[in-house]
Symmetry: none
DNA sequence: TTGCCGGTTGGGCAATTGCCCCTCCGATGG
DNA sequence: CCATCGGAGGGGCAATTGCCCAACCGGCAA
């Protein structure tokens, strides 16, 4: 009541956080919380539920599950990966975002803990965005966050799932948005764009990134590129006809993991994918539909790291 | 499965981790977990409980208040406090009055909500005054507000920051101003004053207060006692020489939280501070300058409750 | 004023969870 | 061989939790 007068909804969240803390950290029952906070049991229950639904409470499991570690080791071995993490799957929801996001956040956090300056480059996508949400709030002004591709659609509007800004905000690091759109309208325009100092600087940062995290897009009707409107149905059919199975930061590649030489790729403005680099280029991806895309990216060594689900790991190894 | 034969208990932990993951991350019920893992519901429950007891699950609250509650819990534990609240600090104004005032007001409001008669005794200071301003207007004629110290300066003028009157007005409760000045001119005069029926009655109310809220004053050039003219520069230097680090309702104490036996304290007319009382004696204080004063008050158990800022809580614990 | 509307509260009940206690099973030792 | 023992599994019940629904509250328009 009283405290609500000033910042109603922020105080309600505060109460939710407090209730969540009392419940999950202090181990109170909802009755005790109700008593301590001077509200009814039902309200306490609502606050706890809100802490959950507003993603105020983050749960992490600190135990390497043997099966997942085995799968990760097998993937590392088979595909010569530097970084590989496998998150447990719920058999009935095998590609729940949260598990993979937590695993990816842990990997990212490891790098961010360094006192030395680190450059982290990010792609886009739900997975990366969910990853950032799982990261604890930390202060890392020594690092740099850079985006590997634009967040503007052709008409200038921003794409959703922008992970770079969120990450930079969360860890208090300077960040470099990608100064070009996702696609240029022509090869000529692209060349001109790439001459800009800002573009050259950002692309250079991407090339020197100490950790790159990217999503992987499949090439079917649910393809992120298509859903987000970068690729018309006709273009996509054409690309599929040319053997496209997946894309990373909009670079479309075939089943061998080779970037396809095509009109579309010649308009892609994203930072180039490094060739068999020493630097970690880690894909964060799951979902049955992405299987061929992930397999190809691994085969072609477009990536040298993978964070995925138990279910996907099993399929990749079979 | 296969790994069981070699490290049975590690597999049990694995199962616990998996069960915990399915429960806390994937949101399954224990029945579903039991079905998916092929065990009985009871076993699933045991596994989930084990994940908890083995500290496999780590819960984090991503809301400023979460950190505050951690700090408050640590302070409560370290200094054996009954009431402890830590308000979030704005990094750029770590001791902003408002946050602490809101926290203190919430604590006060909890007591005021009681239908039973409660006696609330107050000290003085900006913090308490700000606290009262944060309190909702409510009708509490059943309670009693009493001041722990005078609001008259030597010349009879009133001190600013009088919280008692404001609080009484705001909640519509009867109130007892402190019928003596802050300082008597001599020990003899003080004894005479304390014989007055009104004084004895008020002091008695203070001793029986169900909640006492006081400020803490530091002992440097910005000391409230000095700024408000109760303590000359020379007197303060003398007290500092005698080890004074802080004061509560004008009672000056040393770094161990012991009221100093000195000429000044023998003239202090404020209600006595209860010794290790069961009744809540809560300090509302923040500001870097007050650190030694707060630390000493905690050490000497002059207070058994504290409402402070995140920044101060961190310093107190470090 | 009245009545509607969105949002919050508390009662009550069903689902879920925590836990006691008994049983079973394998190991151990007499 | 049998008695004992400790640990895991399961039945069952009480406590806790989740959620639906009706009541209530404050704002707003008629």
């Amino acid at each position: 009541m009283s405290q609500n007068r000033f910042t109603p909804e922020s105080t309600r969240l505060d109460d939710a956080a407090r209730a969540g803390w009392l419940y999950y950290v202090a181990g109170n029952t909802q009755d005790e919380i109700a008593r301590k906070m001077g509200v009814s049991r039902q309200t306490a229950q609502r606050l706890v539920a809100m802490a959950l639904s507003e993603r105020l409470v983050k749960v992490r499991l600190d135990h390497p599950i043997g099966r997942c570690m085995d799968l990760a080791a097998a993937l590392r071995d088979r595909f010569d990966l530097g970084i590989c993490e496998v998150a447990p799957s719920d058999p009935e929801a095998p590609d729940l975002l949260t598990g993979i996001a937590i695993a990816a956040a842990a990997e990212l956090e490891r790098v961010l803990k360094s006192p030395e300056r680190r450059i982290v480059s990010l792609g886009t996508g739900r997975n990366l965005r969910a990853m950032v949400e799982q990261l604890p709030i930390m202060s890392c002004p020594q690092h740099v966050v850079v985006s590997r591709l634009g967040n503007m659609m052709a008409d200038g509007s921003a794409t959703p799932y922008n992970a770079t800004i969120r990450l930079a905000e969360r860890i208090g690091a300077p960040h470099f948005p990608y100064p070009l759109p996702v696609l240029a309208s022509s090869t000529q325009e692209l060349s001109a764009m790439q001459q800009q100092q800002a573009a050259r600087n950002t692309i250079d940062l991407c090339a020197r990134a100490d950790l790159s995290l990217v999503g992987i897009g499949q090439m079917d009707l649910t393809a992120p590129l298509h859903v987000d409107g970068f690729l018309s149905r006709a273009e996509m059919d054409e690309l599929s006809g040319a053997g496209a199975v997946g894309e990373i930061t909009s670079w479309v590649y075939d089943q061998h993991g080779h970037i396809i030489d095509c009109a579309f790729n010649r308009r892609v403005a994203s930072a180039p994918l490094p060739h068999s680099s020493e630097r970690p280029m880690v894909a964060v991806a799951s979902g049955l539909a992405k299987l061929p895309a992930i397999r190809a990216a691994l085969a072609g060594r477009l990536i040298n790291g993978l964070i995925t689900s138990e279910a996907m790991a099993e399929r990749l190894l079979s």
